[in-house]
């Protein structure tokens, strides 16, 4: 039998598939389809220090092979998450990753402190949200700012710390190195690419926020390229995401350099995608004579 489990920063995942933050809420809705242990982990909806209302609708638009969203981090706040969502989620047999976003470095640090003594398995620091006015992607686009926020949060965070990177940068490998040098345990990438759609009849953008973050199959080749570049630049685990929708995509992302994967947009089309991807990966490993999914990681043979 093939082994789909992976170990990321000392946390064992049942399989390499983690539900991407913002696509899976806190898990309740998808548990209607299958036990959440079907997934290796769940990166929860991004939480902030205080509850956030989010952006006005419409918050979603579609393009060829992709979608744009501008939710704007609507969430009930870190305390509500810890008290109301986490206890249930921690009993579902899947790794729980708290995704945190702040307006200031201090807010990230305060949230990391609050999560230290909880059952959260890992913390994912979101410095790449394109849909909020303050903080968000502003922390994630220069090496200096990534280094300083990683250093600050690291000093408060006793959980394994993942830094989630923005693709809206000129050199993502340099950003990843900055995160690693200040103590990140892993990096995850890519967050959404900023994009826009316009209604030609009204000349109005479809999104009330005008712009949004693009995800879905159309961004997959960009994500593969960036995961490959980052894997070559760092020694810490790389969690690859961006448009994965089939087991073939999952295999490709692993080969490019991912140690684990996140899937998001595909769930909107097919909630059962994680089961299909795991089955496909297992069969592929068997056909290739590999015992463990980790044996695929970074096996790319570049020209």
């Amino acid at each position: 039998m093939t082994d789909l489990s992976v170990n990321i920063c000392g946390v064992k995942l049942n399989n390499p598939l983690i539900a991407a933050s913002g696509t899976f809420g806190f898990g309740h809705e998808y548990s209607e389809f299958y036990p959440l242990s079907t997934l290796g982990g769940i990166s929860c909806k991004g939480i902030t220090l205080k509850p956030r209302l989010g952006n006005p609708p419409p918050r979603i638009a579609e393009g060829k092979g992709g979608i744009l969203n501008s939710v704007g981090l609507q969430n009930p706040g870190v305390d509500h998450f810890i008290d109301n969502d986490l206890p249930w989620l921690s009993q579902q047999g899947t790794a729980v990753i708290a995704n945190i976003a702040g307006n200031t470095v201090e807010e990230y640090c305060m949230m990391a402190e609050k999560l230290n003594d909880t059952t959260v398995d890992m913390v994912e620091m979101n410095i790449s949200c394109p849909n909020v006015k303050h903080g968000g992607v502003a922390f994630g686009t220069s090496c200096d700012s990534v280094a300083s926020i990683t250093r600050a949060v690291r000093s408060h965070c006793r959980k394994p710390l993942i830094v989630k990177l923005s693709p809206n940068v000129s050199d993502i490998a340099e950003i990843a190195k900055a995160a690693q040098s200040e103590g990140a345990d892993a990096v995850s990438l890519i967050n959404t690419l900023t994009g826009m759609r316009i209604d030609i009849e009204t000349s109005r953008p479809i999104l009330k926020n005008n712009t949004g973050g693009m995800s879905g199959p159309a961004v997959f080749p960009v994500a593969v390229r960036m995961v490959w570049e980052v894997k070559k630049a760092v020694d810490i685990p790389v969690i690859g995401m961006g448009g994965i929708s089939t087991w073939e995509d999952a295999a490709e992302m692993l080969i490019a350099g991912a140690d684990a994967l996140q899937i998001g947009t595909v769930l909107f089309n097919d909630p059962y995608a994680p089961i299909k991807i795991c089955e496909g990966l297992s069969a592929f490993l068997q056909r290739k004579g590999l015992k463990s999914v980790s044996e695929l990681t970074a096996t790319i043979k570049p020209w």
Partner: protein, 259 residues
């Protein structure tokens, strides 16, 4: 694994399809397990071949193992759906959302504006006092009128209004509602936002409860992705709820209407 799921993603077989007005399609889809648990006001989320997002469409009627949906071609996704052939299967997540609350002792006015008319049919059929209730259906013109006979079979009286006067009463559904509102106990409505807002104002003036079914661009359809936001107020507090999970039916007085 849960024994009884509230909703699931399953194949439905297309058993009947027709174009009932220009660009408006009437489909009957079969799935024994999910059709029978579908309630009035709920919707289905349909995977469209070649599209990343599903298309949410309200349920027009349920007959045994089949659900009926009536939708308008609005873009490429709905056009692809309209081209589905009888015998083909579509993947639906169903049933989704909260339906209307129906009180068996009440007489209703069921109001549908344009493509908002279909979900009112199953609701009217499920109402104990349908034969003492009204349907008010508003359309742009005569060629857009749909489902009049279906409603005629169910309610005491169906009033059709057209914006240009080419059929039925010349004017909006609100004109017709104002005339019969004293004869009903509650109003349920689905249609364009300005219509819902106007209906809600008439109900408020006449102190009649009103339930409205809202629409917003959707992602997951089950309440996880939070894109289909709708502003509501409880007491003095405003917050964004979500059309797919908290709705699509809301109490009209709680809705904060968009500009």
């Amino acid at each position: 694994m849960k024994q009884v799921k509230k909703y699931d993603s399953q194949p439905f077989e297309l058993v009947k399809s027709s174009e009932i007005a220009e660009g408006i399609f009437d489909l009957e889809l079969k799935n024994p397990q999910l059709a029978k648990i579908t309630k009035p006001g709920q919707f289905v989320h349909i995977a469209v071949p070649g599209k990343v997002l599903r298309r949410p469409i309200s349920v027009c009627d349920v007959n045994g193992d089949t659900i009926r949906i009536v939708f308008r071609i609005k873009g490429e996704g709905t056009r692809i759906l309209s081209e589905t052939r009888v015998g083909d299967k579509l993947d639906l997540i169903a049933p989704l959302g909260n339906g209307f609350e129906i009180n068996n002792d009440k007489k209703y006015a069921f109001i549908g504006g344009g493509i908002g008319a279909p979900p009112m049919l199953y609701l009217a059929k499920s109402c104990a006092k349908a034969k003492e209730s009204y349907a008010i259906l508003g359309f742009a013109n005569k060629s857009a009128v749909i489902l009049e006979n279906d409603f005629n079979d169910v309610v005491k009286k169906t009033i059709v209004t057209t914006d240009d006067g080419s059929y039925g009463v010349h004017g909006f559904v609100t004109t017709a509602l104002a005339e019969i509102i004293d004869e009903v106990d509650e109003v349920c409505a689905c249609g364009p936002t300005p219509m819902l807002k106007a209906v809600s104002e008439i109900c408020s003036k006449n102190q009649k409860p009103c339930q409205v079914s809202l629409e917003e661009r959707m992602g997951c359809g089950i309440g996880a992705c939070l894109v289909c936001a709708c502003k509501v107020k409880h007491g003095g507090e405003e917050e964004y709820l979500h059309v797919c999970k908290n709705g699509p039916v809301f109490k009209a007085e709680e809705v904060v209407w968009n500009d």
